[in-house]
């Protein structure tokens, strides 16, 4: 399977004014590394307010002016410059935004799905295609003439998904596609992503919802205080979580009501207060002296990744 997206050591910081003319450089994402192949769904799981949506903005080149982006973002092995991003966004890589608020409230659904066209022929061709995909997603001809406020939550979600698929993308980035929807609509939305996967599209699912991630993703990247600390296989989230590698991921799994509702103390360090060594140092039950001063790199273990010194020698058999 060919890789569609590689994100390598991406960091994002913002220049902020503190007092008067003093500035500070606030690091929100410190080290984000992940990769997605064709027909793979990778979920990035992080708590709300952790800055994970910035990853989507970085991929599409829509970060605000005062943001600093470092690291590499590659599409099919080729590093993307800002110009490249502007060229391929909306074509090869598309965004499924969080909510219907991203639609133009004063434009009919069909018109905004088709977007800008150069000629009448192009318009007709696109219109046919749009109708076909909308039909596939169970959106009748009457929807074409509607305005966003007339859509129900589930319909709006289908409009956003089918609009994204109009350009035959190779990679779909979905930013928090499930909150605020009822059970049935969540299930329906997740099924859309499963269908994309079957069509060979790579999907990056950015979410805080562990249930949604476990339901559809092949691999799950865990985001902690600006770092990807583990990329685990979906199957690892089972039993006692014994196949999960990082202590935080294990704790997260065991804290789910269905898996014991286990209490762990501590909180994720805030942006700007992240310790010098491992970001999980303060809470870690396995910590060693070097973890305080040295920051572990993301280790590659087959399809999995983990940021912890304990696995430098590979994964031991814990039985």
């Amino acid at each position: 399977m060919e890789k569609v997206l590689d994100v390598e050591n991406v960091s994002i910081s913002f220049i902020q004014y503190t007092k008067g003319l003093n500035q500070r450089d606030l690091k929100v994402i410190s080290d984000l590394t992940l990769d997605i192949s064709e027909g793979e769904i990778l979920a990035v799981l992080g708590s709300s307010g952790s800055g994970k949506s910035l990853l989507a903005h970085a991929i599409f080149g829509i970060l605000p002016e005062n943001a600093n982006l470092n690291g590499k973002i590659k599409y099919k092995g080729k590093e993307l410059s800002q110009e490249d991003k502007e060229e391929i966004r909306g074509k090869d890589i598309v965004l499924v935004p969080q909510s219907v608020n991203f639609l133009d409230p004063l434009m009919k659904i069909s018109d905004q799905a088709i977007g800008h066209t150069e000629s009448d022929e192009e318009r007709k061709a696109k219109k046919l295609k749009q109708r076909e995909i909308f039909e596939h997603y169970n959106l009748g001809p009457e929807v074409d003439e509607m305005y966003p406020f007339q859509l129900s939550g589930g319909m709006a979600r289908r409009v956003l998904v089918s609009t994204a698929l109009l350009s035959d993308p190779k990679l779909v980035v979905a930013d928090e596609p499930t909150p605020g929807l009822d059970e049935k609509t969540v299930q329906e939305t997740l099924n859309h992503f499963k269908h994309m996967k079957e069509d060979g599209i790579g999907v990056l699912l950015i979410t805080h919802d562990i249930h949604a991630a476990l339901e559809v993703a092949d691999r799950i990247g865990i985001f902690y205080s600006g770092y990807v600390i583990e990329i685990a296989l979906k199957e690892d989230f089972s039993g006692d979580g014994e196949n999960l590698l990082h202590p935080y991921t294990k704790a997260l799994y065991k804290a789910l009501p269905a898996n014991g509702f286990e209490l762990v103390k501590g909180h994720q360090p805030l942006h700007g207060e992240i310790p010098k060594g491992c970001p999980y140092y303060n809470r870690c039950e396995w910590r060693m002296d070097r973890c305080k001063e040295e920051r572990p790199e993301l280790l590659e273990l087959g399809k999995k990744r983990v940021r912890c010194f304990k696995y430098e020698e590979g994964v031991e058999d814990e039985t």
Binding site: S47, D182, I210, L256, H267, L270, E273
Partner: protein
């Protein structure tokens, strides 16, 4: 101490149909009750009525035999899903807390609130951290009943355990009533003594 709703009916002014029709509910401070229902079904509206936010409805709500006070501190406190929506963005967290009560250090500690967070603005904290403040703010000594409406839905599993564990300790210690509204069945099964399905009581 009973929180009692009798024959509550409610519809939004622009709506044709009633959202709630003849709802009867009796809650006490002896059990932790879970209320389960789909989003959009009217659970949150019922919570707002029970806590005195919505005052125009048919029927009556009484707490300890008395109608809910129209002025002053409300004994029934409501905690929402989105803490960032219920805090003044121009106040620092210290001021946000002081609006309700003078919170002793041991309570801050129990809820894992760091002293350094008190001088931050709401937008400088994550959802999990803000929700801790939101909970502590509602635990004013005059609070007798707590309604948690999808309080931990936006939070990661670890923060969810931490906050609920601390809340339940306080609820038990102070003999308060606690209603947990959620769509997360495993969660309700884990912490509630009894559960109520919203569709069984909503009357529509």
């Amino acid at each position: 101490m009973k929180l009692k709703a009798e024959n509550i009916s409610f519809k939004y002014p622009s709506a044709k149909n009633y959202l709630l029709k003849d709802v009867n509910l009796e809650l006490d401070n002896k059990k932790v009750i879970g209320l389960i229902g789909d989003s959009g079904s009217g659970k949150s509206t019922l919570c707002k009525i029970l806590s005195g936010y919505i005052t125009k409805y048919e029927g009556s709500v009484t707490f300890d035999g008395q109608p809910l006070p129209k002025k002053g501190f409300k004994p029934v406190q409501l905690i929402y899903q989105h803490p960032e929506k219920v805090m003044n963005p121009k106040w620092k967290m210290k001021q946000v807390l002081e609006e309700s009560w003078d919170v002793p250090d041991d309570v801050l500690e129990e809820f894992g609130i760091q002293k350094s967070w008190l001088t931050r603005f709401p937008q400088e904290l994550s959802g999990g951290e803000l929700q801790r403040f939101s909970v502590v703010r509602s635990l004013n000594p005059n609070t007798k009943f707590l309604i948690a409406d999808e309080m931990t839905t936006m939070l990661d599993a670890i923060t969810q355990v931490q906050i609920l564990d601390s809340v339940l300790k306080v609820v038990k210690k102070r003999n308060m009533g606690f209603l947990l509204v959620s769509h997360d069945m495993p969660l309700v099964e884990t912490i509630c003594d009894e559960k109520i399905y919203f569709k069984d009581i909503s009357g529509v």
